[in-house]
């Protein structure tokens, strides 16, 4: 009997842009060619990424024992792997075993990321087979107020950084009387070290669509916008395709799933401005204006997009809602610690050996993430500093590795969990240069509305330069402290208000780096920005 009549073996190669950035497309092509040459029928599925990014491109082969992984696979070695029995799950050097049983994955608690990497992101049938739409169906069976109550009871807090309770925001919009209300998803994930929004949108776009549709039903909105940063072209494409497919299936549009709900969704692409991740700046941008931050109050829940009541939530917040509706508030509430309920999606990046997505209940310690899951640095040198929560988050030394990851514990330590991004640096890092970069970044990305942020950041760069040049060090450190106070207290939004956090934490924990020294030319030139050149 010819092999052609045998059942095809299912092979998974991620389509996630992190995987394709290291050759997944080439690996997929090579697999198809090798299978044709060997006359071996295969069914190639381009799944999302499992989030074990150091193994990318990770090829998985479906076997009776489960999905066997091989990684990282180089396109040039595919022929050899296929000849060696890759399609049978053979024991080859790059074989990592049954992927679901790998401790790195098995010890996680994947709630929001349950389907990412498992399914074909753009297959609506895969979505249904893996529990999709159960949450929306349940939501449509109860009243909007009951949906809001369920989300409130779950303890879900905004995943964008501020940690505001989602249910309370929704209730405010529900209680507003208006013909026109909006649901906006803030997918302007600009924080360095965060990539969970991108992976979710590329890896499970229907989940975000379902979450936004539930939000629309809960608050009485008819139109939704997903504002995605232009740096994520693959996420933009995945969401646009997902929305088209969802419309075709009656998951969006008039009478969603045969109910009375009418809701449609649109993708909008940002313009490369970091500040548009701030919610009011994002709303201005959606209105076609400069992304200038608005003063609050009025809050967007009451006076949001085009002045209408608007829910603004982050990608992961909205993507968590379907699970809460499907499994109930209690199941979600049981996870986590103190006032940080449920799971958080931590993202390990920078100089890290095992970088990727770790979704687990709040309360895991920083050290468990960096040394345990992360396995230390990629360079093999000791970890010196980690920055948690994006470019506006604190730099922490190893002595803080016993900190539990929860919103309040981090605030008490002068830091923030933020969007859950953790960037690791080894001992070669120059913390004065990182503090300078924080100010430089603020200068480049400030919207310019308020003075402490617009001017303070430029002055901050200058003062740090004087400190490291040894000019009146003590006086200038006092001046920097004062400047940080003004920015923290006097800025309209988190951009200027939180920029002092990385600066101050660097000074507190790594004071030696702020001593005067002879700087090597390389370090300095690497930190001169094209964008701040010529600014006042």
């Amino acid at each position: 009997m010819s092999a052609w009549t045998a059942a095809p073996v299912t092979v998974y190669v991620p389509r996630d842009s992190a995987a394709t950035s290291v050759g997944a497309d080439e690996v997929a092509d090579a697999l198809v060619r090798a299978a044709a040459r060997e006359r071996r029928p295969i069914r190639l599925v381009r799944n999302g990424s499992r989030g074990m990014l150091w193994l990318e491109p990770l090829v998985e082969v479906a076997t009776p024992d489960g999905r066997i992984g091989y990684g990282p696979v180089d396109a040039a070695e595919v022929d050899g792997l296929v000849a060696g029995g890759l399609f049978e799950g053979a024991d080859l050097p790059s074989r990592v075993g049954v992927v679901d049983e790998l401790p790195w994955l098995a010890t996680q608690n994947r709630v929001t990321f349950a389907r990412v990497g498992v399914t074909d992101p753009l297959s609506p049938d895969d979505y249904l087979r893996h529990g999709g739409l159960v949450g929306l169906v349940r939501a449509l069976e109860v009243s909007p107020a009951q949906v809001v109550a369920e989300v409130t009871d779950s303890g879900l807090r905004g995943r964008g950084g501020a940690g505001f309770p989602a249910g309370i925001k929704w209730k405010t919009v529900l209680d507003c009387v208006d013909e026109l209300k909006f649901v906006c998803c803030n997918a302007d994930e600009g924080d360095s070290g965060t990539f969970a929004d991108r992976m979710l949108m590329e890896g499970d776009p229907f989940l975000l669509i379902e979450g936004m549709t539930i939000a629309a039903y809960a608050v009485g909105a008819t139109e939704g916008y997903i504002y995605i940063r232009s740096e994520y072209p693959d996420a933009v494409a995945a969401m646009r395709s997902g929305i088209e497919i969802a419309r075709g299936r009656g998951w969006l549009g008039d009478r969603v799933l045969g109910s009375s709900l009418s809701f449609d969704l649109h993708v909008r692409v940002g313009g490369g401005a970091y500040i548009c991740g701030e919610e009011t700046s994002m709303l201005e941008s959606l209105e076609g204006k400069r992304g200038m931050v608005r003063a609050k109050p009025p809050i967007p829940a009451v006076h949001g997009l085009f002045g209408k009541p608007t829910v603004v939530n982050n990608v992961l917040t909205l993507a968590t809602v379907p699970t809460i509706l499907a499994d109930g508030a209690q199941a979600y509430q049981r996870l986590g610690v103190e006032r940080s309920r449920g799971t958080q999606v931590f993202q390990l990046g920078g100089n890290i050996r095992h970088g990727g997505i770790v979704e687990t209940a709040f309360g895991v310690t920083l050290g468990e993430l960096v040394d345990g899951y992360g396995g230390g640095t990629r360079s093999g040198r000791p970890v010196r500093a980690v920055q948690v929560g994006g470019p506006l988050g604190a730099y922490l030394p190893r002595s803080k590795f016993d900190l539990p990851m929860d919103y309040e514990a981090f605030v008490a330590a002068g830091a923030m969990v933020g969007h859950g991004g953790i960037v690791v640096f080894d001992e070669t890092v120059d913390m004065a240069a990182q503090a300078r970069f924080a100010m430089e970044f603020c200068a480049a990305e400030s919207c310019g509305k308020c003075t402490p942020c617009r001017v303070g950041s430029v002055r901050g760069v200058e003062v740090i330069d004087r400190i490291t040049a040894g000019e009146h060090r003590d006086e200038n450190l006092a001046l920097l402290e004062d400047l940080c106070d003004v920015m923290t207290e006097g800025s309209l939004c988190a951009m200027g208000g939180l920029t002092p956090m990385p600066v101050r934490s660097a000074i507190t924990h790594f004071a030696d780096d702020f001593l005067a020294r002879e700087r090597s030319g390389e370090t300095r030139t690497a930190h001169i920005s094209a964008r701040t050149d010529g600014m006042p």
Binding site: S17, A18, S21, V22, L53, W54, D191, S192, G193, T194, F195, D197, R198, S230, E231, Y232, P233, D234, H266, R268, V269, G271, G272, A273, S285, L286, E287, G288, K289, R290, G291, F306, Q347, G349, G350, N351, I352, G355, G356, R378, Q387, P391, V423, V424, F425, D426, V429, Q434, F441, A444, E445, C447, E522, T523, T525, A526, H527, S529, A530, R531
Partner: protein, 163 residues
């Protein structure tokens, strides 16, 4: 007169911009989608598009100019055929983004924000491409590349420039 990579060579900029504006007018807050579409067609948003857009959308020219200049993405002149955007955010800094910046300057003679003298390569900086576990990362003509060193960057760029 305006020859573009997409072949709208017979259309004037004004006519093209009017057509794009007409196609997007029904959307709420249409200016940003229109600007993206103009840049997609012309590889830039040329200054002569500003009065046309102002008229089409009933805005002042200052308003349109203000929006264009607020966003880093929009440029007033076309870029080179190959654009490399180097991520300079913290996660990529931690694994040597600075070395790639220096390499672009030494090997190709371009600093960030510049186009090479022969007009073949534009280099830009970007703060985070969402590839933070596989840095340093760059985007070349819209495609993401990770785990780069000088040799891989050079082979990617040489291929892109020669195409």
């Amino acid at each position: 007169m305006n020859s573009t990579p997409r072949g709208e060579s017979s259309m004037t900029t004004e006519a093209l911009v009017r057509e794009i504006a007409a196609n997007h007018r029904a959307q709420r807050g249409a200016l940003l989608p229109i600007l993206h579409a103009v840049q997609e067609a012309l590889d830039c948003v040329p200054p002569e598009a500003i009065p046309v857009l102002a008229e089409e959308l009933n805005l002042s020219r200052a308003d349109v100019h203000g929006v264009i200049t607020f966003y880093h993405d929009f440029r007033s002149k076309p870029a080179a055929r190959t654009t490399v955007r180097v991520c300079r955010a913290e996660a990529c800094q931690a694994v040597g983004a600075g070395r790639l910046v220096a390499y672009l300057r030494d090997r190709y003679g371009v600093s960030l924000g510049e186009t090479s003298r022969d007009g073949s390569l534009t280099a830009e900086q970007v703060f985070c491409l969402g590839n933070c576990a596989l840095g340093p990362a760059v985007q070349v003509n819209g495609r993401l590349h990770g785990r780069l060193d000088e040799a891989r960057l050079s082979s990617i760029l040489d291929t892109a420039v020669s195409q």
